[in-house]
Symmetry: C2
Subunit: 297 residues, 2 copies
């Protein structure tokens, strides 16, 4: 059932990669080392789920791909920066990411810190770029949405901070949901909502899109936690069970594997219900929602 | 001669601090640790030179203080983030900053990395904020200007990268000017130009403001290098001579102390000449230009 979605995602990833290639300085631009490190991590083979959500949402609401691409790519840059910094020795201390040495393993810590900073900064530069057909008011709204989602309050950095603070402690389900909602959920929500803003969605539509995104964001994180427990290193491209050994907060650790799978399925069913009730071309988004947990069930 | 400017800067710093206090989450907001770390570094007693340049430039061209403050504060947040990351063990490994323990010394490395990330992100959030009287088109232009100056190409991160790459090597004057222009100059230029954009400056005015800012930016960095050679630890609030012992690229190391002082004075004279030729209230900017090197001559 998810085969068409898999093909769709692969096609979109290629398209997104072409844009990303154009939106980040080439390796020959000085200082070369920083651009090499940025591109190394950016093109390490991510699924491009977040930018694809921006494209699929915006297109479902009638926006053109070209209008959506800069924002979609900016979101992927922010995602990549967060992975580079999370992998650092002072943070999660990971040597492998997507089967390859992490940025600091390949380029050293100083360069990895700066490469992360640079991807975050470049993301906002791209979001503020002077592209044809841009609408300044919508552009500012998108920047506000994304900066909030990447920030500290119920957002990306806040989630990572809480995750680190709770390492080595047993966390309850409320703290766990807070971490998931912030660390993964906020940017997934921003990916979807950004597509809506660019397409000129109504307030009611943005609200529904937010509800849809909140559910697939949590489902995605639960699926990720499940995969960490059940996968081999080869499948995962990173050290499996790492979250467990470091006593990191994961969904299966608190609720068990079967309850986690059930909860992820429920969330996706709810998400599909919400999106299909909107008067838009929702099939692609439904497919992506189902795909989000397909890897883990 | 610089006494009135000193009073002026102190007054503006107070004003800026009040706005910064309102524009960054309070310590009681969760996750508290990240907000404590952000505020610790943000309120560690900087001179607020960059935001003051934004205010002074914008006001000289007729803008209201309230219109300028969010952007001015965002620039200071970016400056603070760059200091936090530069001080990290993997980078310059500094224990002291403005006479106090650096962020990672006070809060640990993970929190310091995240606090830097968070200040950078919050800066863009503030720049995209929905303040009264904002003009979305100008707002986007300001974000583009600042993101470019904080980036990798002839900009903040690129300068820090080149600085680190050249540590322990003898650098020539061309490389040194590149590092200074990128690492310090770009954000000082953005501070001035941002004031101009918000005030609705003409292309010709922006050009002159850029020439003015380029000169005081370089003069400022030369003065900073001179201070590092001539000051005691107490005056400086950090370990003096550190740049020299690490064979860091500094202006006096290449050109000698006297030639450095002469060059800084020439640059400021040129800057004053440029700004006084503009048909604006330029006295405050002239005073700031002279103040920039007053500490070192």
């Amino acid at each position: 059932m998810t085969e068409p979605t898999k093909d769709y995602l692969a096609r979109r990833a290629e398209e997104i990669n072409r844009w990303l290639d154009a939106l980040v300085p080439q390796e020959r631009v000085e200082p070369r080392l920083i651009h090499r490190a940025m591109r190394y991590s950016l093109f390490a083979g991510g699924k491009r789920l977040r930018p694809t959500l921006t494209l699929a949402t915006g297109e479902a609401l009638g926006a053109d791909t070209d209008e959506l691409m800069p924002a979609a790519c900016a979101i992927e840059m922010i995602h990549t920066y967060s992975l580079i910094h999370d992998d650092l020795p002072a943070m999660d201390n990971d040597d492998l990411r997507r089967g390859q040495p992490t940025c600091h393993k390949a380029f050293g810590e100083a360069t990895a810190i700066l490469a992360g900073d640079a991807l975050l900064t470049q993301a906002f530069r791209v979001l503020a770029s002077d592209f044809p057909h841009r609408d300044a008011a919508r552009q500012v709204r998108v920047i506000r949405e994304i900066a909030a989602a990447a920030g500290t309050v119920d957002a990306l950095i806040g989630g990572q901070m809480a995750d680190i603070e709770n390492e080595g402690r047993e966390v309850d389900s409320i703290t766990l949901e807070y971490i998931h909602r912030s660390k993964t959920g906020a940017m997934i929500r921003a990916s979807v909502v950004t597509g809506g803003i660019i397409a000129g969605a109504t307030c009611e539509q943005i609200e529904k899109l937010t509800e849809f995104a909140n559910r697939i964001g949590l489902a995605f994180q639960i699926a990720d936690d499940i995969l960490d427990v059940t996968s081999t290193s080869e499948q995962l491209g990173k050290t499996p069970g790492k979250d467990q050994t470091a006593l990191k907060a994961t969904y299966p650790a608190i609720h068990g594997l079967e309850a986690s799978r059930t909860r992820a399925r429920e969330l996706v069913d709810e998400a599909v219900g919400i999106i299909s009730a909107l008067d838009i071309e929702s099939q692609t988004l439904e497919g992506i929602a189902r795909f989000v947990i397909a890897r883990s069930s």
